[in-house]
Protein backbone atom coordinates (compact mmCIF):
# COMPACT_ATOMS: atom_id res chain seq x y z
CA UNK A 1 0.00 0.00 0.00
CA UNK A 2 2.80 2.42 0.81
CA UNK A 3 5.30 2.86 -2.01
CA UNK A 4 8.57 1.25 -1.08
CA UNK A 5 10.98 2.91 -3.53
CA UNK A 6 12.28 6.33 -2.51
CA UNK A 7 9.14 7.85 -1.02
CA UNK A 8 8.97 11.59 -1.28
CA UNK A 9 8.42 13.47 1.94
CA UNK A 10 4.85 14.42 0.95
CA UNK A 11 3.94 10.79 0.38
CA UNK A 12 5.60 9.78 3.63
CA UNK A 13 3.68 12.45 5.48
CA UNK A 14 0.44 11.30 3.95
CA UNK A 15 1.02 7.70 4.87
CA UNK A 16 1.97 8.70 8.38
CA UNK A 17 -1.23 10.74 8.69
CA UNK A 18 -3.19 7.79 7.43
CA UNK A 19 -1.57 5.50 9.98
CA UNK A 20 -2.28 8.04 12.68
CA UNK A 21 -5.97 8.36 11.78
CA UNK A 22 -6.31 4.59 11.64
CA UNK A 23 -4.79 4.35 15.10
CA UNK A 24 -7.09 7.11 16.31
CA UNK A 25 -10.18 5.17 15.22
CA UNK A 26 -8.90 1.99 16.79
CA UNK A 27 -8.11 3.76 20.04
CA UNK A 28 -11.59 5.25 20.23
CA UNK A 29 -13.19 1.84 19.67
CA UNK A 30 -10.74 0.24 22.07
CA UNK A 31 -11.65 2.84 24.68
CA UNK A 32 -15.32 1.99 24.27
CA UNK A 33 -14.47 -1.62 25.07
CA UNK A 34 -12.07 -0.92 27.91
CA UNK A 35 -13.79 1.96 29.71
CA UNK A 36 -16.83 -0.03 30.92
CA UNK A 37 -14.58 -2.85 32.13
CA UNK A 38 -12.14 -0.48 33.80
CA UNK A 39 -15.02 1.47 35.31
CA UNK A 40 -16.31 -1.71 36.90
CA UNK A 41 -12.89 -2.69 38.18
CA UNK A 42 -12.10 0.69 39.74
CA UNK A 43 -15.60 1.27 41.04
CA UNK A 44 -15.39 -1.98 42.96
CA UNK A 45 -12.74 -0.31 45.09
CA UNK A 46 -15.02 2.58 45.99
CA UNK A 47 -17.87 2.81 48.39
CA UNK A 48 -21.23 3.26 46.72
CA UNK A 49 -21.61 6.71 48.22
CA UNK A 50 -18.30 7.80 46.74
CA UNK A 51 -19.15 6.21 43.38
CA UNK A 52 -22.10 8.49 42.65
CA UNK A 53 -20.08 11.63 43.37
CA UNK A 54 -16.80 10.50 41.82
CA UNK A 55 -17.52 8.18 38.90
CA UNK A 56 -14.36 8.82 36.86
CA UNK A 57 -11.39 9.26 39.12
CA UNK A 58 -9.43 6.81 41.16
CA UNK A 59 -10.95 6.09 44.56
CA UNK A 60 -10.05 8.68 47.17
CA UNK A 61 -9.86 5.78 49.53
CA UNK A 62 -9.28 2.30 48.19
CA UNK A 63 -12.00 0.16 49.74
CA UNK A 64 -11.16 -3.49 49.33
CA UNK A 65 -14.11 -4.71 51.37
CA UNK A 66 -16.36 -5.15 48.33
CA UNK A 67 -13.96 -7.65 46.82
CA UNK A 68 -12.67 -9.32 49.95
CA UNK A 69 -16.11 -9.87 51.44
CA UNK A 70 -17.24 -11.58 48.26
CA UNK A 71 -14.11 -13.67 48.05
CA UNK A 72 -14.47 -14.71 51.67
CA UNK A 73 -18.19 -15.43 51.50
CA UNK A 74 -18.10 -18.87 49.93
CA UNK A 75 -21.15 -18.19 47.76
CA UNK A 76 -18.97 -16.86 45.00
CA UNK A 77 -16.63 -19.84 45.11
CA UNK A 78 -19.56 -22.20 45.21
CA UNK A 79 -20.86 -20.62 42.00
CA UNK A 80 -17.45 -20.79 40.35
CA UNK A 81 -17.27 -24.46 41.26
CA UNK A 82 -20.79 -25.10 39.97
CA UNK A 83 -20.09 -23.34 36.69
CA UNK A 84 -16.82 -25.23 36.31
CA UNK A 85 -18.29 -28.65 37.04
CA UNK A 86 -21.22 -28.08 34.71
CA UNK A 87 -19.04 -26.66 31.94
CA UNK A 88 -16.55 -29.55 32.13
CA UNK A 89 -19.28 -32.18 32.24
CA UNK A 90 -21.08 -30.55 29.32
CA UNK A 91 -17.84 -30.49 27.39
CA UNK A 92 -17.11 -34.16 28.10
CA UNK A 93 -20.58 -35.36 27.11
CA UNK A 94 -20.79 -33.14 24.03
CA UNK A 95 -17.39 -34.04 22.67
CA UNK A 96 -17.55 -37.77 23.47
CA UNK A 97 -20.99 -38.27 21.96
CA UNK A 98 -20.31 -36.02 18.97
CA UNK A 99 -16.95 -37.62 18.21
CA UNK A 100 -18.52 -41.08 18.00
CA UNK A 101 -21.27 -39.81 15.73
CA UNK A 102 -18.93 -37.71 13.61
CA UNK A 103 -16.69 -40.77 13.12
CA UNK A 104 -19.64 -42.72 11.72
CA UNK A 105 -20.74 -39.82 9.51
CA UNK A 106 -17.22 -39.33 8.20
CA UNK A 107 -16.00 -42.89 7.62
CA UNK A 108 -18.96 -45.22 7.08
CA UNK A 109 -21.29 -45.42 4.11
CA UNK A 110 -24.79 -46.57 4.98
CA UNK A 111 -28.29 -45.98 3.81
CA UNK A 112 -29.91 -42.95 5.41
CA UNK A 113 -26.63 -41.38 6.45
CA UNK A 114 -27.31 -38.05 4.78
CA UNK A 115 -30.84 -37.94 6.17
CA UNK A 116 -29.64 -38.44 9.73
CA UNK A 117 -26.83 -35.97 9.24
CA UNK A 118 -29.20 -33.36 7.83
CA UNK A 119 -31.39 -33.89 10.87
CA UNK A 120 -28.44 -32.96 13.06
CA UNK A 121 -27.57 -30.01 10.86
CA UNK A 122 -31.13 -28.71 11.14
CA UNK A 123 -30.54 -28.70 14.90
CA UNK A 124 -28.22 -25.75 14.30
CA UNK A 125 -31.24 -23.67 13.47
CA UNK A 126 -33.18 -24.42 16.66
CA UNK A 127 -32.74 -21.48 18.94
CA UNK A 128 -32.41 -22.67 22.52
CA UNK A 129 -35.27 -20.42 23.52
CA UNK A 130 -37.68 -22.32 21.27
CA UNK A 131 -37.29 -25.56 23.19
CA UNK A 132 -36.84 -24.19 26.68
CA UNK A 133 -40.46 -24.38 27.80
CA UNK A 134 -41.16 -28.01 26.79
CA UNK A 135 -37.64 -28.88 27.91
CA UNK A 136 -38.41 -27.52 31.33
CA UNK A 137 -41.60 -29.58 31.53
CA UNK A 138 -39.69 -32.65 30.38
CA UNK A 139 -37.02 -32.14 33.01
CA UNK A 140 -39.63 -31.60 35.68
CA UNK A 141 -41.39 -34.82 34.66
CA UNK A 142 -38.16 -36.77 34.97
CA UNK A 143 -37.24 -35.14 38.25
CA UNK A 144 -34.17 -33.43 36.86
CA UNK A 145 -34.90 -30.01 38.35
CA UNK A 146 -32.28 -28.93 40.86
CA UNK A 147 -30.06 -31.59 39.37
CA UNK A 148 -26.95 -30.61 37.41
CA UNK A 149 -27.78 -33.27 34.82
CA UNK A 150 -30.85 -31.21 33.97
CA UNK A 151 -28.50 -28.53 32.64
CA UNK A 152 -25.63 -30.69 31.42
CA UNK A 153 -27.60 -33.03 29.16
CA UNK A 154 -29.69 -30.40 27.33
CA UNK A 155 -26.61 -28.23 26.83
CA UNK A 156 -24.79 -31.22 25.38
CA UNK A 157 -27.76 -32.03 23.13
CA UNK A 158 -27.87 -28.49 21.77
CA UNK A 159 -24.10 -28.48 21.32
CA UNK A 160 -24.18 -31.66 19.25
CA UNK A 161 -24.94 -30.22 15.78
CA UNK A 162 -22.05 -27.76 15.67
CA UNK A 163 -19.60 -30.22 17.23
CA UNK A 164 -20.59 -33.07 14.92
CA UNK A 165 -20.24 -30.84 11.86
CA UNK A 166 -16.81 -29.53 12.81
CA UNK A 167 -15.47 -32.95 13.83
CA UNK A 168 -16.86 -34.70 10.77
CA UNK A 169 -15.05 -32.22 8.58
CA UNK A 170 -11.84 -33.00 10.40
CA UNK A 171 -12.26 -36.79 10.45
CA UNK A 172 -12.95 -36.82 6.73
CA UNK A 173 -9.50 -35.45 6.02
CA UNK A 174 -7.75 -38.34 7.73
CA UNK A 175 -6.49 -40.56 4.88
CA UNK A 176 -8.35 -43.83 4.34
CA UNK A 177 -5.04 -45.74 4.00
CA UNK A 178 -4.42 -45.12 7.65
CA UNK A 179 -7.63 -46.82 8.61
CA UNK A 180 -6.96 -49.76 6.26
CA UNK A 181 -3.51 -50.21 7.70
CA UNK A 182 -4.88 -50.15 11.22
CA UNK A 183 -7.59 -52.69 10.39
CA UNK A 184 -5.04 -55.00 8.75
CA UNK A 185 -2.92 -54.73 11.88
CA UNK A 186 -5.90 -56.08 13.79
CA UNK A 187 -7.41 -52.85 15.04
CA UNK A 188 -11.16 -52.81 15.67
CA UNK A 189 -13.28 -49.88 14.58
CA UNK A 190 -13.31 -48.53 18.11
CA UNK A 191 -9.57 -49.21 18.44
CA UNK A 192 -8.88 -47.12 15.36
CA UNK A 193 -11.18 -44.39 16.61
CA UNK A 194 -9.70 -44.36 20.09
CA UNK A 195 -6.01 -44.95 19.44
CA UNK A 196 -5.49 -43.26 16.09
CA UNK A 197 -8.28 -40.92 15.05
CA UNK A 198 -8.79 -39.09 18.35
CA UNK A 199 -5.10 -38.40 18.99
CA UNK A 200 -4.79 -37.11 15.44
CA UNK A 201 -7.82 -34.87 15.90
CA UNK A 202 -6.45 -33.21 19.02
CA UNK A 203 -6.54 -29.65 17.62
CA UNK A 204 -10.13 -30.05 16.44
CA UNK A 205 -11.10 -31.61 19.77
CA UNK A 206 -9.50 -28.70 21.64
CA UNK A 207 -11.46 -26.28 19.51
CA UNK A 208 -14.87 -27.85 20.06
CA UNK A 209 -14.11 -28.40 23.75
CA UNK A 210 -13.35 -24.73 24.27
CA UNK A 211 -16.52 -23.81 22.42
CA UNK A 212 -18.59 -26.14 24.60
CA UNK A 213 -17.03 -24.79 27.79
CA UNK A 214 -17.62 -21.14 26.89
CA UNK A 215 -21.21 -21.77 25.80
CA UNK A 216 -21.98 -23.65 29.00
CA UNK A 217 -20.21 -21.10 31.19
CA UNK A 218 -22.31 -18.27 29.78
CA UNK A 219 -25.63 -20.08 29.68
CA UNK A 220 -28.27 -18.38 31.77
CA UNK A 221 -31.76 -19.31 30.62
CA UNK A 222 -31.59 -23.01 31.43
CA UNK A 223 -29.81 -22.89 34.82
CA UNK A 224 -32.16 -20.07 35.80
CA UNK A 225 -35.12 -22.38 35.30
CA UNK A 226 -33.62 -25.67 36.44
CA UNK A 227 -31.96 -24.54 39.65
CA UNK A 228 -34.60 -23.23 42.01
CA UNK A 229 -32.25 -23.64 44.99
CA UNK A 230 -29.08 -21.52 45.33
CA UNK A 231 -26.94 -24.62 45.88
CA UNK A 232 -26.37 -25.19 42.19
CA UNK A 233 -26.53 -21.62 40.89
CA UNK A 234 -23.96 -20.90 38.23
CA UNK A 235 -22.18 -17.57 37.92
CA UNK A 236 -24.66 -15.88 35.53
CA UNK A 237 -27.62 -16.86 37.73
CA UNK A 238 -25.68 -15.75 40.81
CA UNK A 239 -24.84 -12.37 39.30
CA UNK A 240 -28.44 -11.73 38.33
CA UNK A 241 -29.74 -12.70 41.76
CA UNK A 242 -27.05 -10.63 43.45
CA UNK A 243 -28.08 -7.62 41.41
CA UNK A 244 -31.66 -8.08 42.56
CA UNK A 245 -30.58 -8.46 46.16
CA UNK A 246 -28.23 -5.47 46.41
CA UNK A 247 -29.93 -3.22 43.86
CA UNK A 248 -28.82 -0.03 45.63
CA UNK A 249 -25.26 -1.06 46.39
CA UNK A 250 -23.76 -0.29 42.99
CA UNK A 251 -20.13 -0.65 43.96
CA UNK A 252 -20.70 -4.07 45.46
CA UNK A 253 -22.53 -5.28 42.34
CA UNK A 254 -19.74 -4.00 40.13
CA UNK A 255 -17.22 -5.84 42.28
CA UNK A 256 -19.24 -9.00 41.79
CA UNK A 257 -19.37 -8.38 38.04
CA UNK A 258 -15.58 -8.01 37.94
CA UNK A 259 -15.02 -11.20 39.89
CA UNK A 260 -17.53 -13.00 37.67
CA UNK A 261 -15.76 -11.78 34.53
CA UNK A 262 -12.31 -12.74 35.66
CA UNK A 263 -12.46 -16.52 35.05
CA UNK A 264 -13.96 -16.07 31.57
CA UNK A 265 -11.37 -13.49 30.56
CA UNK A 266 -8.54 -15.58 32.00
CA UNK A 267 -9.76 -18.62 30.11
CA UNK A 268 -10.06 -16.51 26.97
CA UNK A 269 -6.44 -15.36 27.10
CA UNK A 270 -5.33 -18.99 27.40
CA UNK A 271 -7.69 -20.55 24.85
CA UNK A 272 -8.11 -17.62 22.47
CA UNK A 273 -6.72 -19.50 19.48
CA UNK A 274 -9.03 -22.51 19.90
CA UNK A 275 -12.05 -20.34 20.51
CA UNK A 276 -11.57 -18.16 17.46
CA UNK A 277 -10.59 -21.16 15.35
CA UNK A 278 -13.74 -22.97 16.41
CA UNK A 279 -16.02 -20.03 15.75
CA UNK A 280 -14.64 -19.29 12.32
CA UNK A 281 -14.64 -22.99 11.36
CA UNK A 282 -18.18 -23.38 12.67
CA UNK A 283 -19.38 -20.34 10.80
CA UNK A 284 -17.85 -21.29 7.48
CA UNK A 285 -19.02 -24.88 7.66
CA UNK A 286 -22.37 -24.38 9.38
Amino acid sequence: MTPTTAPSSAVRLRSRLRGLSMHAIIWVVGAMIVVPLLYALVSGFKSTSELSGNPFGLPRQWVTANYTELLASGTFWRQVANSTVIALATMLVTVAVSALAAYVFARFAFRGREVVFTLFAIGLMFPFAVAILPLFILLRTFGLLDNPLGVILPQAAFGLPMTVIVLRGFFRNVPAELEEAAIIDGCSAFGFFWRILLPMARPALATVSVLAIVTSWNNFFLPLLVFTQPDWWTIPVGVQQFQGQYAQDTARILAYVVLAMAPALAFYTVAERQLIGGLTAGATKG
Partner: protein, 329 residues
Protein backbone atom coordinates in the same frame (compact mmCIF):
# COMPACT_ATOMS: atom_id res chain seq x y z
CA UNK B 1 -10.05 -69.53 7.02
CA UNK B 2 -8.41 -72.90 6.54
CA UNK B 3 -9.81 -74.02 9.84
CA UNK B 4 -13.30 -73.00 8.93
CA UNK B 5 -13.07 -74.83 5.59
CA UNK B 6 -12.27 -78.05 7.35
CA UNK B 7 -15.15 -77.45 9.73
CA UNK B 8 -17.66 -77.15 6.89
CA UNK B 9 -20.34 -79.83 6.89
CA UNK B 10 -19.38 -82.92 4.88
CA UNK B 11 -21.24 -83.87 1.74
CA UNK B 12 -21.61 -80.36 0.41
CA UNK B 13 -20.11 -79.26 -2.89
CA UNK B 14 -16.47 -78.68 -2.05
CA UNK B 15 -15.84 -76.22 -4.90
CA UNK B 16 -18.40 -73.67 -3.71
CA UNK B 17 -17.37 -73.82 -0.08
CA UNK B 18 -14.75 -71.06 -0.17
CA UNK B 19 -17.16 -68.77 -1.99
CA UNK B 20 -19.87 -69.48 0.50
CA UNK B 21 -17.49 -68.79 3.30
CA UNK B 22 -16.36 -65.61 1.74
CA UNK B 23 -19.98 -64.55 1.45
CA UNK B 24 -20.61 -65.53 5.05
CA UNK B 25 -17.55 -63.62 6.17
CA UNK B 26 -18.65 -60.60 4.21
CA UNK B 27 -22.12 -60.64 5.66
CA UNK B 28 -20.62 -61.14 9.12
CA UNK B 29 -18.38 -58.15 8.51
CA UNK B 30 -21.32 -56.13 7.26
CA UNK B 31 -23.26 -57.11 10.35
CA UNK B 32 -20.40 -56.06 12.55
CA UNK B 33 -20.15 -52.78 10.66
CA UNK B 34 -23.88 -52.18 11.12
CA UNK B 35 -23.49 -52.87 14.83
CA UNK B 36 -20.59 -50.41 15.02
CA UNK B 37 -22.59 -47.73 13.22
CA UNK B 38 -25.57 -48.24 15.49
CA UNK B 39 -23.52 -48.30 18.67
CA UNK B 40 -21.55 -45.18 17.74
CA UNK B 41 -24.54 -43.24 16.56
CA UNK B 42 -26.94 -44.24 19.31
CA UNK B 43 -25.82 -41.90 22.12
CA UNK B 44 -25.98 -38.86 19.85
CA UNK B 45 -29.33 -39.86 18.41
CA UNK B 46 -30.88 -40.52 21.80
CA UNK B 47 -29.59 -37.28 23.28
CA UNK B 48 -30.62 -35.24 20.27
CA UNK B 49 -34.03 -36.84 19.86
CA UNK B 50 -34.92 -36.67 23.54
CA UNK B 51 -33.71 -33.17 24.32
CA UNK B 52 -33.93 -31.26 21.03
CA UNK B 53 -36.50 -32.87 18.74
CA UNK B 54 -38.94 -34.10 21.35
CA UNK B 55 -39.27 -30.70 23.06
CA UNK B 56 -39.89 -28.99 19.73
CA UNK B 57 -42.56 -31.55 18.81
CA UNK B 58 -44.04 -31.26 22.28
CA UNK B 59 -44.24 -27.49 21.91
CA UNK B 60 -46.10 -27.95 18.63
CA UNK B 61 -48.54 -30.27 20.39
CA UNK B 62 -49.18 -28.19 23.50
CA UNK B 63 -49.62 -25.02 21.46
CA UNK B 64 -53.00 -26.45 20.44
CA UNK B 65 -54.26 -26.64 24.02
CA UNK B 66 -55.25 -24.37 26.80
CA UNK B 67 -52.90 -25.70 29.42
CA UNK B 68 -51.48 -24.57 32.74
CA UNK B 69 -48.43 -26.79 32.53
CA UNK B 70 -49.48 -29.51 34.98
CA UNK B 71 -50.89 -32.92 34.16
CA UNK B 72 -51.53 -33.89 30.57
CA UNK B 73 -52.98 -31.16 28.32
CA UNK B 74 -56.63 -32.01 27.64
CA UNK B 75 -58.41 -28.80 26.73
CA UNK B 76 -57.97 -28.78 22.97
CA UNK B 77 -58.50 -25.34 21.47
CA UNK B 78 -57.18 -25.80 17.96
CA UNK B 79 -55.43 -22.72 16.63
CA UNK B 80 -57.01 -20.39 19.17
CA UNK B 81 -53.69 -19.65 20.82
CA UNK B 82 -52.28 -18.50 17.50
CA UNK B 83 -55.33 -16.40 16.72
CA UNK B 84 -55.01 -14.76 20.12
CA UNK B 85 -51.29 -14.31 19.56
CA UNK B 86 -51.73 -12.34 16.40
CA UNK B 87 -54.26 -10.07 18.06
CA UNK B 88 -52.01 -9.43 21.02
CA UNK B 89 -50.40 -6.04 20.77
CA UNK B 90 -47.44 -7.06 22.90
CA UNK B 91 -46.65 -9.96 20.62
CA UNK B 92 -47.07 -7.90 17.46
CA UNK B 93 -44.76 -5.40 19.15
CA UNK B 94 -42.28 -8.21 19.78
CA UNK B 95 -42.24 -8.96 16.06
CA UNK B 96 -41.70 -5.30 15.24
CA UNK B 97 -38.93 -4.89 17.84
CA UNK B 98 -37.28 -8.06 16.62
CA UNK B 99 -37.36 -6.64 13.13
CA UNK B 100 -35.87 -3.34 14.30
CA UNK B 101 -33.05 -5.08 16.15
CA UNK B 102 -32.32 -7.27 13.12
CA UNK B 103 -32.34 -4.27 10.81
CA UNK B 104 -30.02 -2.33 13.11
CA UNK B 105 -27.69 -5.32 13.45
CA UNK B 106 -27.46 -5.93 9.72
CA UNK B 107 -27.31 -2.28 8.66
CA UNK B 108 -25.18 -0.78 11.43
CA UNK B 109 -23.41 -3.42 13.51
CA UNK B 110 -22.18 -5.61 10.66
CA UNK B 111 -20.83 -2.74 8.50
CA UNK B 112 -19.10 -1.40 11.59
CA UNK B 113 -17.60 -4.83 12.27
CA UNK B 114 -16.51 -5.04 8.65
CA UNK B 115 -14.87 -1.62 8.81
CA UNK B 116 -12.95 -2.64 11.92
CA UNK B 117 -11.92 -5.89 10.25
CA UNK B 118 -10.59 -4.03 7.22
CA UNK B 119 -8.75 -1.66 9.54
CA UNK B 120 -7.19 -4.49 11.54
CA UNK B 121 -6.26 -6.28 8.34
CA UNK B 122 -3.77 -3.48 7.56
CA UNK B 123 -0.23 -3.74 8.68
CA UNK B 124 -0.60 -2.00 12.02
CA UNK B 125 1.49 -2.08 15.12
CA UNK B 126 -0.26 -4.06 17.85
CA UNK B 127 -3.04 -5.39 15.70
CA UNK B 128 -2.94 -8.82 17.36
CA UNK B 129 -3.58 -7.08 20.65
CA UNK B 130 -6.48 -5.03 19.26
CA UNK B 131 -8.01 -8.14 17.78
CA UNK B 132 -7.80 -9.82 21.17
CA UNK B 133 -9.31 -6.76 22.83
CA UNK B 134 -12.22 -6.23 20.43
CA UNK B 135 -13.23 -9.85 20.65
CA UNK B 136 -12.99 -10.03 24.45
CA UNK B 137 -16.59 -8.91 25.22
CA UNK B 138 -17.84 -11.90 23.25
CA UNK B 139 -16.61 -14.32 25.92
CA UNK B 140 -18.48 -12.51 28.67
CA UNK B 141 -21.97 -13.80 29.29
CA UNK B 142 -24.92 -11.64 28.29
CA UNK B 143 -25.94 -11.57 31.93
CA UNK B 144 -22.67 -10.11 33.15
CA UNK B 145 -22.65 -7.67 30.24
CA UNK B 146 -26.23 -6.73 31.02
CA UNK B 147 -25.64 -6.14 34.71
CA UNK B 148 -22.54 -4.08 33.96
CA UNK B 149 -24.42 -1.84 31.54
CA UNK B 150 -27.41 -1.53 33.84
CA UNK B 151 -24.99 0.12 36.26
CA UNK B 152 -23.41 2.23 33.54
CA UNK B 153 -26.74 3.43 32.15
CA UNK B 154 -28.34 3.92 35.56
CA UNK B 155 -30.31 7.17 35.45
CA UNK B 156 -28.37 10.18 36.83
CA UNK B 157 -25.83 8.21 38.86
CA UNK B 158 -24.46 5.98 36.07
CA UNK B 159 -21.26 6.51 34.14
CA UNK B 160 -23.10 7.26 30.89
CA UNK B 161 -24.96 10.23 32.34
CA UNK B 162 -21.78 11.54 33.96
CA UNK B 163 -20.03 11.35 30.60
CA UNK B 164 -22.95 13.11 28.90
CA UNK B 165 -22.72 15.86 31.54
CA UNK B 166 -18.97 16.13 31.09
CA UNK B 167 -19.23 16.66 27.33
CA UNK B 168 -22.12 19.08 27.75
CA UNK B 169 -24.89 16.83 26.48
CA UNK B 170 -26.43 16.27 29.88
CA UNK B 171 -29.27 18.59 28.90
CA UNK B 172 -30.53 16.01 26.42
CA UNK B 173 -31.65 13.93 29.37
CA UNK B 174 -31.41 10.62 27.54
CA UNK B 175 -33.24 7.99 29.57
CA UNK B 176 -31.29 4.96 28.28
CA UNK B 177 -32.94 1.81 29.59
CA UNK B 178 -35.52 3.78 31.57
CA UNK B 179 -37.36 5.49 28.75
CA UNK B 180 -39.45 3.65 26.20
CA UNK B 181 -38.14 5.76 23.34
CA UNK B 182 -34.46 5.06 23.99
CA UNK B 183 -34.48 1.58 25.42
CA UNK B 184 -34.19 -0.27 22.13
CA UNK B 185 -31.27 1.77 20.79
CA UNK B 186 -29.57 1.34 24.16
CA UNK B 187 -30.05 -2.42 24.01
CA UNK B 188 -28.65 -2.36 20.51
CA UNK B 189 -25.65 -0.39 21.74
CA UNK B 190 -24.91 -3.06 24.31
CA UNK B 191 -25.43 -5.81 21.73
CA UNK B 192 -22.95 -4.10 19.47
CA UNK B 193 -20.47 -3.73 22.32
CA UNK B 194 -20.67 -7.44 22.97
CA UNK B 195 -21.01 -8.90 19.48
CA UNK B 196 -19.25 -6.73 16.89
CA UNK B 197 -15.93 -8.38 17.77
CA UNK B 198 -17.35 -11.77 16.88
CA UNK B 199 -18.39 -10.63 13.42
CA UNK B 200 -15.12 -8.78 13.02
CA UNK B 201 -13.26 -12.04 13.68
CA UNK B 202 -15.30 -13.80 11.00
CA UNK B 203 -14.58 -11.02 8.51
CA UNK B 204 -10.89 -11.05 9.38
CA UNK B 205 -10.76 -14.76 8.65
CA UNK B 206 -12.51 -14.08 5.36
CA UNK B 207 -10.19 -11.19 4.48
CA UNK B 208 -7.13 -13.27 5.17
CA UNK B 209 -8.30 -15.92 2.75
CA UNK B 210 -8.46 -13.42 -0.12
CA UNK B 211 -5.41 -14.06 -2.28
CA UNK B 212 -3.01 -11.11 -2.30
CA UNK B 213 -2.32 -11.36 -6.03
CA UNK B 214 -5.95 -10.60 -6.91
CA UNK B 215 -5.73 -7.30 -5.05
CA UNK B 216 -2.34 -6.57 -6.58
CA UNK B 217 -3.69 -7.26 -10.04
CA UNK B 218 -6.56 -4.85 -9.44
CA UNK B 219 -4.07 -2.32 -8.16
CA UNK B 220 -1.94 -2.67 -11.30
CA UNK B 221 -5.08 -2.25 -13.40
CA UNK B 222 -5.45 1.15 -11.75
CA UNK B 223 -8.11 0.44 -9.14
CA UNK B 224 -8.01 2.80 -6.18
CA UNK B 225 -8.36 1.71 -2.59
CA UNK B 226 -12.16 2.15 -2.59
CA UNK B 227 -12.56 0.39 -5.93
CA UNK B 228 -10.40 -2.49 -4.74
CA UNK B 229 -12.60 -2.83 -1.68
CA UNK B 230 -15.88 -2.45 -3.56
CA UNK B 231 -15.16 -4.65 -6.55
CA UNK B 232 -12.66 -7.20 -5.25
CA UNK B 233 -12.75 -7.53 -1.46
CA UNK B 234 -16.48 -7.18 -0.93
CA UNK B 235 -17.60 -9.75 -3.52
CA UNK B 236 -14.99 -12.23 -2.33
CA UNK B 237 -16.14 -11.67 1.23
CA UNK B 238 -19.74 -12.39 0.23
CA UNK B 239 -20.05 -15.86 1.78
CA UNK B 240 -18.64 -14.68 5.11
CA UNK B 241 -20.93 -11.66 5.18
CA UNK B 242 -23.98 -13.78 4.44
CA UNK B 243 -23.16 -16.25 7.19
CA UNK B 244 -22.47 -13.52 9.71
CA UNK B 245 -25.79 -11.87 8.79
CA UNK B 246 -27.50 -15.22 9.25
CA UNK B 247 -26.01 -15.72 12.72
CA UNK B 248 -26.91 -12.16 13.63
CA UNK B 249 -30.56 -12.67 12.67
CA UNK B 250 -30.88 -16.00 14.47
CA UNK B 251 -29.31 -14.40 17.55
CA UNK B 252 -31.73 -11.48 17.47
CA UNK B 253 -34.76 -13.77 17.12
CA UNK B 254 -33.98 -15.58 20.36
CA UNK B 255 -32.63 -12.63 22.35
CA UNK B 256 -33.48 -13.16 26.00
CA UNK B 257 -30.67 -13.01 28.58
CA UNK B 258 -29.60 -9.45 27.87
CA UNK B 259 -33.17 -8.10 27.90
CA UNK B 260 -34.18 -10.05 30.97
CA UNK B 261 -31.28 -8.73 33.01
CA UNK B 262 -31.36 -5.12 31.86
CA UNK B 263 -35.05 -4.25 31.50
CA UNK B 264 -37.10 -7.47 31.81
CA UNK B 265 -38.88 -6.17 28.71
CA UNK B 266 -39.84 -2.81 30.13
CA UNK B 267 -40.62 -0.01 30.42
CA UNK B 268 -44.17 -1.06 29.47
CA UNK B 269 -43.11 -3.81 27.05
CA UNK B 270 -41.03 -1.38 25.00
CA UNK B 271 -38.01 -3.69 24.92
CA UNK B 272 -39.83 -7.00 25.14
CA UNK B 273 -38.80 -9.75 22.74
CA UNK B 274 -40.62 -12.93 21.74
CA UNK B 275 -38.51 -14.99 24.14
CA UNK B 276 -39.33 -12.63 27.03
CA UNK B 277 -43.06 -12.74 26.29
CA UNK B 278 -42.84 -16.52 26.09
CA UNK B 279 -41.09 -16.60 29.44
CA UNK B 280 -43.67 -14.34 31.03
CA UNK B 281 -46.59 -16.46 29.91
CA UNK B 282 -44.92 -19.82 30.41
CA UNK B 283 -43.22 -19.34 33.76
CA UNK B 284 -44.95 -16.42 35.44
CA UNK B 285 -48.57 -16.67 34.33
CA UNK B 286 -48.73 -20.41 33.72
CA UNK B 287 -50.41 -20.10 30.34
CA UNK B 288 -48.16 -22.79 28.96
CA UNK B 289 -50.25 -23.53 25.87
CA UNK B 290 -50.16 -19.90 24.85
CA UNK B 291 -46.44 -19.66 25.60
CA UNK B 292 -45.88 -22.78 23.49
CA UNK B 293 -47.61 -21.04 20.61
CA UNK B 294 -44.99 -18.27 20.92
CA UNK B 295 -42.23 -20.91 20.89
CA UNK B 296 -43.74 -22.40 17.76
CA UNK B 297 -43.86 -19.04 16.01
CA UNK B 298 -40.22 -18.41 16.97
CA UNK B 299 -39.34 -21.80 15.63
CA UNK B 300 -41.25 -21.28 12.39
CA UNK B 301 -39.67 -17.87 11.83
CA UNK B 302 -36.14 -19.17 12.31
CA UNK B 303 -36.89 -22.34 10.35
CA UNK B 304 -38.43 -20.59 7.36
CA UNK B 305 -35.74 -17.96 7.43
CA UNK B 306 -33.02 -20.61 7.57
CA UNK B 307 -34.57 -22.62 4.72
CA UNK B 308 -35.03 -19.53 2.61
CA UNK B 309 -31.49 -18.45 3.35
CA UNK B 310 -30.09 -21.88 2.59
CA UNK B 311 -32.07 -22.08 -0.63
CA UNK B 312 -31.61 -18.64 -2.10
CA UNK B 313 -28.69 -16.96 -0.43
CA UNK B 314 -26.20 -19.54 0.74
CA UNK B 315 -26.64 -21.81 -2.27
CA UNK B 316 -25.28 -19.06 -4.47
CA UNK B 317 -22.12 -19.29 -2.43
CA UNK B 318 -21.72 -22.97 -3.19
CA UNK B 319 -22.34 -22.36 -6.87
CA UNK B 320 -19.92 -19.47 -6.79
CA UNK B 321 -17.28 -21.65 -5.19
CA UNK B 322 -17.75 -24.36 -7.80
CA UNK B 323 -17.76 -22.08 -10.81
CA UNK B 324 -14.79 -20.05 -9.65
CA UNK B 325 -12.89 -23.29 -9.09
CA UNK B 326 -13.68 -24.40 -12.59
CA UNK B 327 -12.67 -20.97 -13.84
CA UNK B 328 -9.33 -21.25 -12.11
CA UNK B 329 -8.57 -24.51 -13.84
Amino acid sequence: MAVSVRKSAPGRDAASAPARHRRAARSRRRLRERATIAAFLLPALVLFAALVLLPVVFALYTSLFRWGGFGWPDEFVGLDNFVRLFQDEVFLGDLWRGFVLIALSVCVQLPFALAMAVLLNQRLRGRAFYRLLFFAPYVLSEVITGVLFTMIFAPDSGLADHIMDAVGLGGLGIGWFASSSTVLPTVFLVMTWKYFGFHMILYLAGLQSIPKDVLEAASIDGAGAWQRFRYVTLPLLGPTIRISAFLSVIGAIQLFDLIWVTTAGGPVHSSETMAVTMFQFGFKRYQVGYASAISVVMFLISFVFALFYQRYVLRRDLEGAVTSMRGRR
